[in-house]
């Protein structure tokens, strides 16, 4: 039985484990219970700064701390990180201050709160900022592992986590996860699916559907969107010939966009992008959202077939 867990819990556990570094500080904007920084707050209240419901302030308090030698971890909902985009741009990324921003409850998968809470553009906007590393891990193990690597990064980062539980991919493989290196989870030669976040497990399901039709696919967890693991993508093109991307995010500017930028300029190959088709979500259960937005496993499988037809 596959263990189920939420990526935000991996983030919360990592903060606790990082606390032995006295320079690690946590910033909250009234959502610590949700982003899971609350565990750190309870254990280390002196190193937790409540910024209130003030995301713009939080980002720059982090910048001031980073400029003074601290390692700030700031979190809120993914959608509200966007409110502080210009602070991230001008006050964090531009001076290259290592503030680590976590946006939880990202994507339509966050569910019943509806479209106001379903960030489908966060990966795109933060990917446009020089110096910023952008991540969207798929399970609690990789989330924890990536978060634990951030103090050594020396530059700012954005990580999207998710509210709801998804299948755990990496139990016992924590040491294999590295920022900037995609992970091959399943091997096949007919097509390669590159996915992030909740869509990784959907892509595994799609691969199983396709195997019933005699189609074998490689599935990659591209937990780091920037810097993009282009060496891996190149090898996937050489092996499989066609690429499908899958993300719980607008088809504009996210993982599909990043892969398209690389393929079209360096390594031309047919590409199908599975994602939210430039529309807003609505209230619904997580699995219902993936269905209604046409990004669940059957839609990924269809995209693989379309890609193969383009060979």
């Amino acid at each position: 039985m596959t263990r189920m867990a939420a990526t935000r819990d991996g983030y919360g556990q990592a903060l606790l484990d990082l606390a032995e570094n006295p320079k690690v500080v946590v910033l909250e904007a009234d959502l610590g219970k949700s982003t899971k920084s609350l565990h750190f707050r309870k254990a280390y209240p002196d190193r937790t700064i409540s910024c209130g419901i003030s995301e713009q302030n939080m980002l720059l308090v982090g910048a001031g701390l980073a400029s003074s030698g601290y390692i700030p971890f700031a979190s809120t909902f993914a959608i509200f990180t966007e409110r502080a985009f210009e602070q991230m741009r001008n006050g964090v990324a531009r001076p290259n201050l290592a503030v680590h921003l976590c946006g939880s409850h990202g994507g339509t998968h966050t569910g019943t709160d509806g479209s106001s809470a379903q960030s489908i553009e966060d990966l795109a906007i933060f990917r446009t900022l020089p110096n910023v590393v952008v991540m969207h891990p798929c399970d609690d193990v990789s989330t924890k592992s990536l978060t634990m690597q951030l103090p050594e990064l020396g530059k700012p980062s954005y990580m999207r986590t998710a509210r709801n539980k998804t299948p755990v991919m990496y139990d016992g493989r924590e040491s294999e996860i590295k920022i900037g290196k995609g992970m091959i989870l399943r091997e096949g030669n007919d097509a390669a699916i590159i996915a992030c976040g909740v869509m990784v497990s959907e892509s595994i399901k799609a691969a199983e559907l396709l195997s019933n039709d005699g189609i074998s696919v490689t599935v990659v967890d591209m937990h780091t969107l920037k810097p993009l693991d282009t060496d891996l993508i190149k090898s996937l093109v050489e092996r499989c010939g066609v690429i499908v991307t899958a993300e719980d995010h607008n088809i504009i500017g996210g993982l599909g966009g990043a892969v398209a930028e690389y393929l079209s300029s360096k390594c031309p190959a047919p590409l199908e992008i599975v994602g939210v088709k430039d529309r807003f979500g609505e209230s619904g259960q997580s699995d219902e959202m993936l269905e209604i937005l046409e990004i669940s496993s059957p839609f990924i499988a269809d995209a693989v077939k379309r890609a193969i037809d383009r060979k």
């Binding site: 980002l59 308090v61 001031g64 400029s67 003074s68 006050g91």
Partner: protein, 301 residues
């Protein structure tokens, strides 16, 4: 004595106990010497903006008496070690008024007077807006309004976490406090009782397009800060005796954040720029440049 560019102006230095870390020295000046320091800075401001034929003279001239007094009598800094971890911080949140800060940094010895010629020039340390990645002595990359107070709050939290008694000075513009994020930071700084966070508000009454009163009435500004829990004092930002009293107030208020509201004149010191919204962001022409140099006593009429 850590102040290296002191050959003409230093009278005495104080030695200040500095937490458990270091002894630091800073310079003190007589009022007349600060005025001369500020006059020289005004000359450099006009030269920078004239050479570049771009930039922001008005707000640089309104702030310059305040920044000159702050650096020459209060700031615990080492111009020859600008990254000294336990230095006082100065954050020019109104980062477009950079010529004023660059002039002070040059007079203090953080950068050279030759560096001032790089203002707005490709590759220059004097970027259009103050930038910590380009210019020694600049503690924050500003230029986008409403950000410096939050950044300063982060620096203040860091100082407290380290049990350091370094102070964080932030200069805001009055138009700038129309940004909502200023009030996020104002609320948070008092919530966290950051007595090491000290703000100077350059109340010059003019913003980019017009007088503040026309663009966005702000009503009772001191009452707003008081309502957010700050200690408030108002002064004439060009009367050096009042400026010194105001800086005393900031230094002596340590039980919570404090703000010195300095009533200033946009373009102060150059007759045709004073209270003239046109010189918020415009350079003098040849004739105006000559007149400015006469008014500043650099050349005779």
């Amino acid at each position: 004595m850590t102040f290296v560019n002191s050959k003409k102006i230093t009278k005495a230095s104080k030695v200040v106990g500095h937490g458990k870390f270091l002894k630091a020295t800073f310079m003190t000046m007589e009022i007349s010497e600060i005025k001369e320091f500020a006059r020289k800075c005004r000359v450099e401001i006009i030269k920078m903006v004239y050479r570049a034929q771009a930039g922001h003279p008005g707000g640089s001239l309104s702030e310059i008496d305040l920044i000159s007094a702050l650096y020459t009598t209060r700031m615990r800094v080492k111009p020859n070690d600008p990254k000294w971890a336990d230095r006082d911080r100065f954050i020019l949140s109104k980062g477009h008024a950079s010529p004023g800060m660059y002039a002070v940094l040059a007079e203090m010895g953080f950068i050279s007077h030759t560096d001032l010629k790089s203002y707005r020039v490709l590759g220059g340390v004097c970027q259009g807006h103050v930038d910590m990645k380009w210019c020694p002595g600049v503690d924050f990359s500003a230029g986008s309004l409403g950000m410096g107070l939050s950044f300063g709050m982060g620096c203040a939290v860091a100082a407290r976490l380290e049990d350091s008694d370094r102070r964080i000075f932030v200069m805001l513009g009055d138009g700038e406090i129309q940004e909502g994020s200023i009030w996020e930071a104002a609320m948070a700084a008092r919530h966290h009782e950051l007595g090491n966070l000290k703000v100077i508000l350059d109340r010059n009454r003019i913003q980019n397009d017009d007088f503040c009163e026309v663009q966005m009435r702000m009503f009772d500004i001191p009452a707003k800060w008081k309502a957010f829990g700050w200690s408030v004092k108002e002064i004439d930002g060009h009367n050096m005796n009042e400026v010194m009293e105001g800086l005393d107030f900031l230094e002596q208020t340590n039980d919570g954040p404090s703000i010195l509201i300095a009533h200033t004149i946009k373009g102060a010191g150059i007759s045709y720029m004073e209270n003239n919204p046109s010189f918020h962001g415009a350079a003098p022409n040849d004739e105006q440049y000559k007149q400015a140099m006469i008014e500043l006593g650099e050349v005779s009429a």
